[in-house]
Amino acid sequence: MIRTEELLLNVGPQHPSTHGVFRIIVKLDGEIITEANPVMGYLHRGTEKLAENLSYTQIIPYTDRMDYVSAMTNNYVLVHTVEKLLGLEVPERAEFLRLIVMELQRIASHLVWWGTYLLDIGAMSPFLYAFRDREMIINLFNELCGARLTYNYMRVGGVKWDAPEGWLDKVRDFVPYMRKKVDEYDDLVSGNEIFLARIKGIGRYDAETAINLGLSGANLRCTGVKWDLRKDQPYSLYERFEFDVPVGKNGDCYDRYVIRLEEIRQSLRILEQALEQFPEEGEIMGKVPRVIRAPEGEVYAGIESPRGEIGCYIVSRGKDKPYRLKFRRPSFVNLQILPKLLVGESMTNLITILGGVDIVVGEVDC
């Protein structure tokens, strides 16, 4: 036997592929990982604690900064929960606008994931192509709500802005464009033998493990569990639209990749239908009191964010501020499987697996 020495390696918090300030302490035997310890909290800002001293409206911009790649869904989960607590009716037009921006956001978020994942694996161009196309969505959002990343678009009871003139047509033009681009992505990467060899069979787990660890989103669906809150616990107007929930069967990185690309296509389908059914006229703000005082009670609502089930739990004592607010952040929960997956893998696969989980550190640390 050759005597080998164990190597303790700090991956992160400053490392190009940990997607921010995430850190894993790994023990390496050669290049094989024998132990992995994720360390988080470098981006902790105490959103939940801060929220206890903020009125419900004031919390909305804070949710923008949680999962900064998918701020619209975060906005939605908060206002949706508060509306549930208040029993508020949201005008149809507002709900349509919310749904459209959420689906656009899902595409944008998956594009970011796709680009950065390929960058992790070593391909440079996909990253820039993804950001080129994401830019179109960002510009649409910029026109709609005046910001490129921290939208602060939704309000309790509706949305802040109505669609500006011609905006819907721009979205209409965007759908076929994006469809063409997704096919191009397939050409560029999905058939690439090097890429397939890198991700097929890597980071495998079965449905039982996934459910026991509370995974959701593509991380759960890759094992073959058909669980999508848009279908299974319909919120917003998702019941009105036809779309498929792509599932994998092997539970490896490849399945997660395929599912996310397919979700972009399904989102485009939803967008198309939503644009068709978009009501011509209507209010964009429901009847909301100027100061929102939620009745006493507790409420939880979960929605399907691009990363999985994002939930918001509010305890209200009848004040205009929540007594306690808790976000179920999908990135954080999905991350639990990481130490389990990493043992026995090589350094290279660490990056492949970590990227495949699709975390946003702002959301992990919240």
Binding site: L7, L9, H15, P16, S17, E31, L118, L119, D120, I121, G122, A123, M124, S125, L128, Y129, R132, L188, V189, N192, I194, F195, A197, R198, S346, M347, T348, N349, L350, I351
Partner: protein, 336 residues
């Protein structure tokens, strides 16, 4: 230029050698400057960007500015690094890359040393660079650098073998190890160039060559997303510049070698295009190979270490051996 080398070394001839080498080094530096510029431009275009365009007209001085920045940077040597080796490593890795260029014939008359074992000389010296990289990785006393250095050692050793063996077919066809003789054997139109009869050898050579160069998709030693920067993670300033320089000089060397071995060197693709000087043809083919390398870099993801080893030993090596046998059989039956 052939006349000088065998003669006795006098102060006069030494001065001459020295001046010619310095001139060549300057040419190489000029090439590296614009290869980097060209690479960034090409990759930029492929990604919907303009590439460098701020420094100088069309950004032509971008690399000059970058190098100037590297040269005036503080030279840091980590406290716990193995000082001597740390300093030595970039030198060891750069010198062979420049020395191998001596045997490459650019045209019939423009070459430095027309050794009769040209290919062997190239292969033997180029593997010395690996030592520089391992030393650099080890002497930095950094875990990422160490991993990068180890990877590079494994990779370069495993790919040296298919690289050499894939060339054997070419040597068999031309019956010489002398590079100028190999080019001579490919005169008279592109159908005589070695890449057609030696298609397997050509492909193996290209793959192995990209791997030797540590470029995408085989850029594992410096795999940014895993090892941060690999073996040169602790290097800065002009030592880092030397590693970069060595890398790009090797691009020059490999592209020239490919041109010479497989693409007919200075010969035009059709005999009637003879009036265009050979150096232009050489440069054209050379640029195409360089462009191809950049194109690969813009497109492909990185191969994993174990797959890289598998590819080298289980695919490329057998293929290149098969290539030798096929070449031998075909040659025996049809050409003798």
């Amino acid at each position: 230029m052939t006349g000088w080398l065998p003669g006795p070394i006098t102060w006069q001839s030494f001065t001459l050698y020295f001046l010619v080498s310095v001139a060549f080094l300057l040419v190489i530096l000029g090439y590296v400057t614009y290869a980097i510029y060209f690479e960034r431009k090409v990759i930029g275009w492929m990604q919907g960007r303009h590439g460098p365009n701020r420094v100088g007209p069309l950004g032509l001085l971008q690399t000059v500015a970058d190098v100037a920045k590297l040269l005036i940077k503080e030279d840091t040597i980590p406290k716990k690094a193995q000082r001597d080796l740390f300093i030595l490593a970039p030198v060891i890795s750069f010198v062979p890359s420049f020395v191998v260029l001596a045997t490459i014939p650019f045209t019939e008359t423009l070459y430095f040393a027309d050794l009769n074992v040209g290919i062997l000389y190239y292969v033997a010296l180029s593997s010395i660079s690996t030592i520089g990289i391992i030393l650099g990785g080890w002497a930095s006393n950094n875990k990422y650098a160490l991993l990068g250095g180890m990877r590079s050692a494994a990779q370069m050793i495993s790919y040296e073998i298919p690289l050499v063996i894939s060339v054997v077919g070419v040597i068999m066809l031309s019956g010489s190890l002398q590079l100028s003789a190999i080019v001579e054997g490919q005169s008279g139109g592109f159908w005589n160039w070695n890449f057609l009869p030696q298609i397997i050898g050509f492909i193996v050579f290209i793959v192995a060559a990209v791997s030797e160069l540590n470029r995408t998709p085989f850029d594992l030693p410096e795999a940014e997303s895993e090892l941060v920067a690999g073996y040169h993670v602790e290097y800065s300033g002009f030592r880092f510049a030397f590693f970069m320089l060595a890398e790009y000089v090797y691009v020059f060397a490999i592209a020239s070698l490919t041109t010479v071995l497989f693409l007919g060197g200075w010969h035009p693709p059709f005999p009637f295009l003879d009036f265009i000087p050979g150096i232009l043809w050489f440069l054209l083919k050379f640029s195409f190979v360089v462009f191809f390398l950049f194109w690969l870099r813009a497109t492909f993801p990185r191969v994993r270490v174990d797959q890289l080893m598998g590819l080298g030993w289980k695919v490329l090596l057998p293929l290149s051996l098969v290539n030798i046998f096929i070449t031998a059989i075909v040659y025996e039956i049809f050409f003798r």
